[in-house]
């Protein structure tokens, strides 16, 4: 297999990730990794996926070229003023709003880095109040469904009432 970076030397570093059955692969030669100042596992260094980000972000799923691509590079975040070009060069977002501004190209990137696009961890009480409620509702709905299937209609009705209560809370913000 040939290195994804230089396309010449054989790739000796292989990274595979399996997340939810999905496989992401990366193949690169040691010379290229070292040239970019990266760390390589199994050698007296380590390896960081950080520096590969800009490479991944240049990857354009829409196949845009020329003028259109240039317009995209100049697209600017309303929150912090960062352009997409800057973002793809630095591999860093400038503010929380950037995640919305550059959302279009974000999911493919996150998919390649994490194998996933949706957070399932901790939810803050303050900022995530609604998220917590929605997650609780989803859980109760699943529970209600299984009770209906078990023909335990009485406790399913209790759950339905609780779900309605929570849904009202969500609507009132």
């Amino acid at each position: 297999m040939v290195c994804q970076e230089c396309g010449q030397r054989p790739a000796t570093l292989h990274f595979s990730k399996y997340v939810n059955g999905e496989k992401t692969e990366l193949h690169i030669c040691e010379a290229c990794a070292r040239e970019k100042g990266e760390l390589i596992p199994g050698t007296p260094s380590g390896f960081s996926i950080h520096n590969l980000l800009s490479g991944l972000m240049d990857f354009d799923p829409s196949g845009l070229s020329g003028a259109k691509a240039q317009v995209q590079q100049q697209q600017r975040c309303e929150g912090c003023g960062m352009t997409y070009g800057q973002f793809s060069k630095l591999g860093r977002f400038g503010c929380a709003h950037c995640y919305k501004q550059f959302a279009e190209r974000l999911d493919p990137l996150l998919k390649r880095v994490h194998g996933n696009t949706v957070h399932v961890g901790k939810v803050p009480k303050r900022a995530g109040g609604l998220v917590r409620l929605r997650r609780e509702i989803d859980g109760l709905k699943r529970e209600m469904q299984s009770r209906i299937e078990g023909e335990d209609f009485e406790s399913a009705a209790d759950l339905r009432d609780r779900i309605r209560e929570l849904e009202r809370e969500v609507q009132n913000g």
């Binding site: 997340v19 990266e38 380590g46 929380a96 995640y99 974000l106 996150l110 901790k122």
Partner: protein, 354 residues
């Protein structure tokens, strides 16, 4: 300058504790990245916005919310000399990125130096907890509790879909980076290290040198950490890393037993030669010193160096770094002077044991 406890002493209090699997694992670390809602991340923040973020985060300490951790010091990095910053980096209490941050960077440091909260690094807040030995779950518990305290006091940038929003997309979601610093000399000597590390990267973990990105892994020290922060819960991330680290520990222990069984004399010779060189060298560079200290550390755990204790070795590991070395001698040293001073420092510390 130089009188501060946290830069004057090479060993942090937490490093002196006895801890599980200390023969292989030096430390367990968990870092959580968080940002404040409504303020640009540090890279794009104006001076007043950065100062605003710093004030809000330092206020959490000033208001007494962190009292449960003991007396936490708030330190503005502008108060520190370059040398002091370098020592904090060498003690892993701040990242090189924070040390290089020119304006409105700050640090909140717990009394045991096991809790270090960085303000205006790449993200507004980086909560870092360190424990001695293999205590990943305990370290995560501590970090998560501190996270909850901040969450009560400030509004975090959080997105329903993407989770905690961070400057770098590699941290988004949980924002956690958990790592285990391992000493794996037997796996290196027996030539198994490459196979093990490539297996580790294949299950979605990363391996780094001792001082993180851009540095060399000297002294057979390897840091294994999670790479994925999105799509897995914190518990899954910690459990996965814990399980893989546990396997590496067992492999290293097996390799040590094999060395002792099959080539004890060769190993003993290597370790004692290193002891001889460290005891009598007139000049020694940091790289060789780390490698030889690694041999000594192995020797201590194999019972081949009676009289040398692990605490001394841990202390030397930090003391031989350029920043600490210069601070200890109270002056800037040329590289040649450093190699000489280093050799003197090591031989005098070892002489008390020989």
């Amino acid at each position: 300058m130089g009188n501060r406890k946290y830069t004057a002493e090479a060993l942090s209090p937490w490093m002196k504790e006895d801890a599980p699997d200390r023969d292989v694992v030096l430390s367990s670390r968990v870092r959580i990245a968080r940002n404040l809602r409504h303020l640009p991340f540090p890279m794009m923040a104006s001076a007043s916005q950065a100062s605003d973020a710093m004030d809000r985060l330092l206020m959490v300490n000033e208001s007494g919310r962190l009292n449960g951790l003991g007396e936490v010091s708030s330190i503005r990095l502008s108060e520190l000399s370059e040398l002091e910053k370098q020592v904090l980096v060498e003690k892993h209490l701040i990242s090189p990125a924070l040390a290089n941050q020119a304006q409105h960077a700050a640090l909140m440091l717990g009394p045991g130096e096991d809790v270090s909260l960085m303000v205006n690094e790449e993200d507004h807040l980086r909560i870092q907890c360190l424990h001695a030995g293999f205590q990943l779950k305990e370290t995560w518990d501590t970090a998560s509790k501190i996270d909850d305290i901040f969450e009560e006091a400030v509004d975090y940038a959080f997105d329903e879909k993407y989770g905690f929003l961070t400057s770098c997309p590699t941290n988004v979601g949980t924002g956690i980076r958990a790592s285990v610093m391992m000493h794996l000399p037997a796996l290196v000597i027996t030539g198994q290290i490459n196979r093990i590390l490539s297996a580790v990267t294949q299950v979605g973990l990363a391996v780094r040198g001792m001082y993180g990105e851009g540095s060399e892994a000297t002294g057979n020290l390897f840091q294994v950490s999670n790479q994925i922060t999105l799509g897995q819960s914190e518990a899954e991330i910690i459990d996965h890393l814990h399980a893989v680290a546990r396997q590496i520990i067992e492999h290293e222990k097996a390799a040590r037993a094999k060395l002792m069984g099959e080539s004890r004399l060769k190993v003993e010779d290597r370790i004692k030669r290193s002891f001889g060189i460290l005891s009598y060298a007139a000049v020694i560079d940091a790289k060789e010193a780390s490698q030889r200290l690694s041999d000594l550390r192995l020797g201590v755990h194999l019972g081949l160096l009676p009289g040398v204790d692990e605490g001394t070795l841990n202390e030397l590991l930090v003391s031989i770094q350029p920043g600490y070395l210069q601070q200890a001698y109270g002056e800037a040293l040329s590289p040649e002077q450093r190699d000489m001073t280093r050799a003197q420092m090591i031989s005098s510390r070892l002489a008390t044991h020989a």
